[in-house]
């Protein structure tokens, strides 16, 4: 498929994943604030930190506003100058979709376009009236979009690149949320946790849609280390880092085909290395120490960024001289139908 189109597929899903993640994060926060004693100062700033937006927010709106529920939510939902706000992510998702209208299905486009139109009008009203309801609607529209996509496009290259975008974004996001929460609320005494801390952990699980899954996993211990291990290493949990990376390995294999050429080797190697590390036996030790968690999460975020960059160089924006070299190498030189 055309390189630029692959790039847009990849980013379309990354942006949609961000929309959903931000909505869930804000929603969970909003609910927790209602019935915990933690003051708001400790409550809303982490949202900005997870998004990597704290410095820009403080610079634009002032440090004192970082404690303000309304200001942070406005910033994360409707601020067009915030590159990771819901409105920005959705706009870019739609722009990407628009540029590949010939590739995506009509159903996908109509769902996305309706979502965009909704956000500017009734969505905005819903947000003002009842933010919780608004976040639910956002999540539902995302689910609708993904459901329609899954059932209306061919599961070939464009779809594979979309899934890669989603999985890499999700792996990185889970690591980020875990890191920030662990850092901010991590247990000082891993074995003795207060009720407050328990509520924090539940909120963390909910931020990753993992509350029920975690408790269904019978026999697991409740508490920081167990939850960290679950979010990073549980192979069957759809938002765990290991699950996402494992799926991404499959998808990149599909993209490269049964007899992979040199194209895509860098991204595939990096993905394979990360997967190997996450499945190695000694990684479980890391999840028992707070510093280890932080280090591991940082590493995951950095490595997924490196994989995305390799994807760009391999598939999306290959430098021309290299392309010409490949044509000289022969096999690619054949005309193809």
């Amino acid at each position: 498929m055309i390189s630029r189109v692959a790039d847009s597929c990849f980013w379309l899903y990354r942006y949609m994943e961000r929309v959903e993640n931000v909505a869930r994060l804000l929603d969970v926060n909003l609910l927790v604030v209602l019935d915990t004693k933690t003051n708001e100062q400790e409550r809303w700033r982490p949202v900005l930190i997870v998004a990597g937006e704290e410095p820009r927010f403080v610079q634009r709106l002032g440090a004192s506003c970082a404690d303000d529920a309304q200001a942070v939510q406005n910033y994360m939902v409707f601020d067009e100058e915030n590159p990771v706000s819901i409105v920005s992510s959705l706009r870019w998702a739609r722009e990407n979709a628009r540029s590949i209208r010939d590739t995506i299905s009509l159903e996908m486009w109509e769902a996305l376009n309706a979502f965009w139109l909704w956000l500017g009008e009734s969505g905005h009203k819903s947000f003002v009236r009842n933010p919780h309801h608004f976040y639910s609607e956002v999540k539902e529209q995302c689910a609708l979009f993904h459901g329609l996509t899954h059932n209306s496009v061919m599961h070939n290259d464009p779809f594979n690149f979309m899934r890669l975008g989603m999985l890499l974004e999700r792996a990185s996001q889970t690591a980020r949320v875990l890191d920030v929460k662990y850092h901010a609320m991590g247990p000082s005494h891993p074995d003795k946790e207060s009720l407050e801390e328990g509520i924090e952990w539940i909120a963390l699980l909910r931020s990753c849609s993992g509350y029920e899954s975690f408790f269904k996993k019978s026999g697991v211990q409740f508490g920081g280390p167990a939850i960290a291990a679950f979010l990073i290493l549980e192979p069957d949990f759809p938002r765990s880092v290991l699950h996402c990376i494992g799926r991404a390995v499959n998808f990149i294999q599909r993209v490269r085909g049964t007899t992979p050429g040199p194209i895509g080797a860098r991204a595939a190697d990096l993905l394979g290395a990360l997967y190997a590390r996450l499945t190695s036996t000694n990684i479980r030790d890391i999840t028992s120490v707070k510093a280890g968690i932080h280090k591991e999460c940082t590493r995951i975020v950095e490595e997924t960024a490196r994989i995305c960059e390799a994807m760009r160089l391999d598939f999306f924006d290959p430098p021309l001289p290299e392309m010409a070299k490949l044509t000289k190498m022969g096999s690619m030189f054949q005309s193809q139908g």
């Binding site: 630029r4 209208r101 590739t103 054949q334 139908g337």
Partner: protein
Amino acid sequence: MAKSKKRSKQAASNVFSGYKPLKSCFDELFCASGAPQETLEALVRSIDSIGAAEFKARQKLANAAFLKGGITFKVYSDKRGQEKIFPFDLIPRPVSGQEWPRLERGLTQRIAALNMFLADVYGEQRLLKEKVIPRELVEGSKGFLKQVKGIKPLNGVYVHVAGIDLIRRPDGGFCVLEDNIRTPSGVSYVLENRRVMKRVFPKVFAQAKVRNVDEYPLRLREALTGIAPQGVAPRLLILTPGPFNSAYFEHSFLARSMGCELVQGQDLFVWQDKVYVKTTKGPQRVGVIYRRVDDQFMDPKVFRPDSLLGVPGIMGAYAKGNVALANAIGNGVADDKAVYPYVPDMIRFYLSEEPILDQVETFICAREKDCEHVLANLSKMVVKAVDESGGYGMLMGPQASKKERDAFAERIRANPRGYIAQPRVEFSTCPTWSGTDMQPRRVDLRPYIVTGKDSWVLPGGLTRVALVEGSYVVNSSQGGGSKDTWVMG
């Protein structure tokens, strides 16, 4: 008596209640008396009976369908990404099945002549040598590109896709107003309008026996794959300037409906006079490009060096016959508005036939006598820049102020070759919903002609409508809308 009273009461809520056709021109649905045209009685009755309130509701439904589908026309580059739908009017514009075959023949004839003209102008130049048309007029055209002299497109076709603008005179006869044979747009609206009309007016539609338009993408695909260079798999691509182009919706629409890929200039490169597309599996050879990028932007090495929309070196590949481009490069010389008056002569010269379709009397300001006449009668004339489209660069003499006319006269004197003028034609109206009631508004008709081995005329076309009261300008950039065109029976 009682009967007529009942009728008028009922009429108050009907779709066409109170509709009065203009006296000066033909109306597509009604006679001058106010009664429906004889052949259209059933159609008018079935629309009328929907009732004004229900009609309004359906117009809303249609607008919502366009917006949701992102079937939008203007794209502003501001942050909100505002897009407007191309205004769509629900009253269909009928063309009778009796008059359509003649139009088909006339359009096919015209395209054949224009195609032969292009082959001649960039080849032997017989027409110029025999002085059927002045050489300086042709070679002085902005659309005449000396860079393509001697290049013969594969299969000899220049005009793969044409959109010829027709208007209907007060006597009911069609005539050609303008040829669009570079990159005519609008066909996607023909297909989308139809899709929406079927949903909104299923009953009216079913009764009217309208000819189907869905064949277009298949016909186009067939014509385009037929011109692939020998020995190259006919990988067909559509080249678009990108999502910010006002016709981007159409580009993506055509790619989807033909099942081919949509590319931008950056996706392509030329190596050893062959065109390749960058793919995730490496570069792949390209056979045919349906390009929707203007000539001047196609190749920065040959034309505008600042163009980022084209592909450096593509003209070399084209000249060698390694890639087919549709439409051919250099077609602008044939739809130059100052060349238009000579099309009937071309038909006689190349085909030894009489033109089937009439066209509008045109004064070429490059000819001294014509220019004098135009300047003396500016208040009766429509003046157009020869190389503009979209309703830009024109003067509507009868509606313009004296100041505007004087200013335009200056421009004509400064560059007579740049302008032509035509008497204003009182072209036909069609009932159109104004928001509160039904009003007569001017309409034109742009049929599309696809040429591969033979020419095929899409049974229908884009009817554009001037939504502003009293306006003669139907272009979408000037407040025009569109209607579904029904070729009936």
